[in-house]
């Protein structure tokens, strides 16, 4: 801690706001970031040329995103010094990522399943069917006793099929 800032000396161990990240840590983290970048590029080029295959679907993008996630975590922990900082800042950071996940998942629930419920258009709700049945009964009652030749199944559709012996 700096000499001309004595009031922070008393509690800088648990304060977290003025931690000086050591040169060794900064250089190690940078080395790891470079190595991970090379790794992700090499993996992508190998997959593009067909040398390796991470599987269809989420495979290759999953590997790339995990490597990117590790890199982002390294930057946040050491370069942004979240590791030595107030937990409140880490919480704000993680909450923003949580909301991104919520954002993505809910959007995917909408877009990801479109066209999978097309059969629903042909179906009718149960109360609609009941309503139509009640309407039909009402109409039927209006015509009861008026029709000299009541409409029966036989007059409309012809005689019933003869059951096979």
């Amino acid at each position: 801690m700096a000499q001309n800032n004595p009031h922070t000396d008393s509690h800088h161990d648990h304060d977290g706001g003025h931690h000086i990240v050591s040169a060794r840590v900064l250089l190690t983290v940078f080395g790891a970031l470079v190595a991970l970048t090379i790794l992700t590029v090499v993996l992508a080029l190998m997959e593009r040329s067909g040398t390796i295959h991470f599987g269809d679907g989420f495979g290759s993008v999953g590997v790339a995103l995990i490597i990117a996630g590790v890199k982002a975590t390294l930057v946040a922990m050491y370069f942004m010094a979240l590791k030595y900082d107030s937990k409140l800042h880490t919480m704000a950071f993680l909450l923003s990522i949580l909301f991104l996940v919520v954002f993505f998942v809910i959007t995917y629930f909408d877009t990801g399943f479109r066209g999978q419920f097309d059969g629903v258009h042909d179906a009718r709700a149960l109360d609609m069917i009941i309503m139509e049945e009640l309407d039909a009964q009402e109409v039927e009652q209006q015509f009861q006793g008026l029709d000299p030749m009541p409409v029966t199944r036989d007059t409309l559709l012809g005689p019933p099929p003869v059951p096979e012996p």
Binding site: M1, A2, N4, N5, H7, T8, S10, H11, H14, D15, G16, G17, H18, I20, V21, A23, L26, L27, F30, L33, V34, T37, T40, V41, A44, L45, S60, V61, A64, L65, I67, A68, K71, A72, V75, A76, Y78, F79, M80, D85, S86, K87, L88, H89, A92, F93, L95, S96, I97, F99, L100, F103, F104, T107, Y108, T111, G112, R114, G115
Partner: protein, 260 residues
């Protein structure tokens, strides 16, 4: 969190003088309180930055889920090595910013200045590479904006995209010269979807880099005039945080755009 519970007041313990350091605003009890308030504010701003880019990342994820082959094909138009170079440049610039904060914490103003100026140089290098990438695509006829608008009257519904829009999108794209089959190896008529996301996401990221250059330049001028020391370097710390977020966003942009 310690600052919010236990407040250390500048100097009054010594009793004799109520002298306050020049950087300390009247409405803060101590330098530490002022520092943590500024830093919390910066983090809340960074949260909004993450959510700003998050919307675009969600759009990317949804559309990539819909058209995985389109994204794989269109992505081959991006130069992986230029993208990787830019990733390294940004990672190095993050290191120099972190080193500059470390230097000013140890009152090494000269080193802090050198590191900040290196950061600006690296940011410019990033933008120069970006410039060459963009102009190369313009030469291929891959433009942002108008070239990728679906044909007029085309419904933007999913159904419209899948069936009706295909032919009209080709004719519209051919009309403005944006899409020529076989010209650059793109056979999918809706490749504009990928390049629209590419231009918007890298473009807004690029704007953030430019804003970062301006902010760090202000730091350089003020540090040159001796405004910062280990007793007060809050702006250096906060601009540093901003620069790291710009770096983190690129860390995700790079594999998603270049490495499909």
């Amino acid at each position: 969190m310690a600052n919010t519970t236990s407040i250390t007041v500048d100097h009054p313990a010594h009793g004799d003088t109520a002298e306050r350091p020049p950087h300390l605003k009247s409405y803060f009890v101590s330098s530490d309180q002022q520092f943590s308030a500024a830093k919390l504010g910066m983090w809340l701003f960074l949260v909004t930055e993450i959510l700003l880019f998050g919307g675009m990342f969600v759009a990317y994820g949804i559309y990539r889920g819909m058209y995985p082959e389109l994204f794989a094909q269109a992505s081959t138009q991006l130069d992986t090595m230029l993208g990787a170079t830019n990733t390294m440049v940004l990672l190095l610039s993050s290191l120099t910013v972190a080193w500059s904060i470390r230097a000013i914490q140890m009152d090494n103003r000269k080193l802090a200045l050198t590191m900040l100026i290196s950061t600006i140089a690296l940011a410019f290098a990033f933008m120069v590479v970006k410039y060459f990438e963009y102009t190369h695509k313009f030469e291929l006829g891959i433009y942002p904006g108008a070239g990728f608008v679906f044909a007029e009257g085309t419904s933007f519904t999913l159904q419209g995209l899948i069936t009706g829009a295909q032919t009209s999108a080709i004719s519209a794209a051919e009309h403005v010269g944006a899409y020529i089959p076989g010209d650059h190896g793109i056979t999918d008529q809706r490749a504009g979807l990928f390049f629209s996301l590419y231009y918007v996401m890298t473009g807004i990221h690029g704007i953030h880099v430019v804003i970062g250059i301006v902010a760090i330049s202000v730091l350089v001028v003020k540090m040159w005039r001796g405004k910062y020391s280990s007793a007060w370097y809050t702006p250096v710390e906060n601009v540093g945080l901003y620069w790291h977020i710009v770096d983190i966003i690129w860390i995700f942009l790079f594999p998603l755009m270049y490495l499909i």
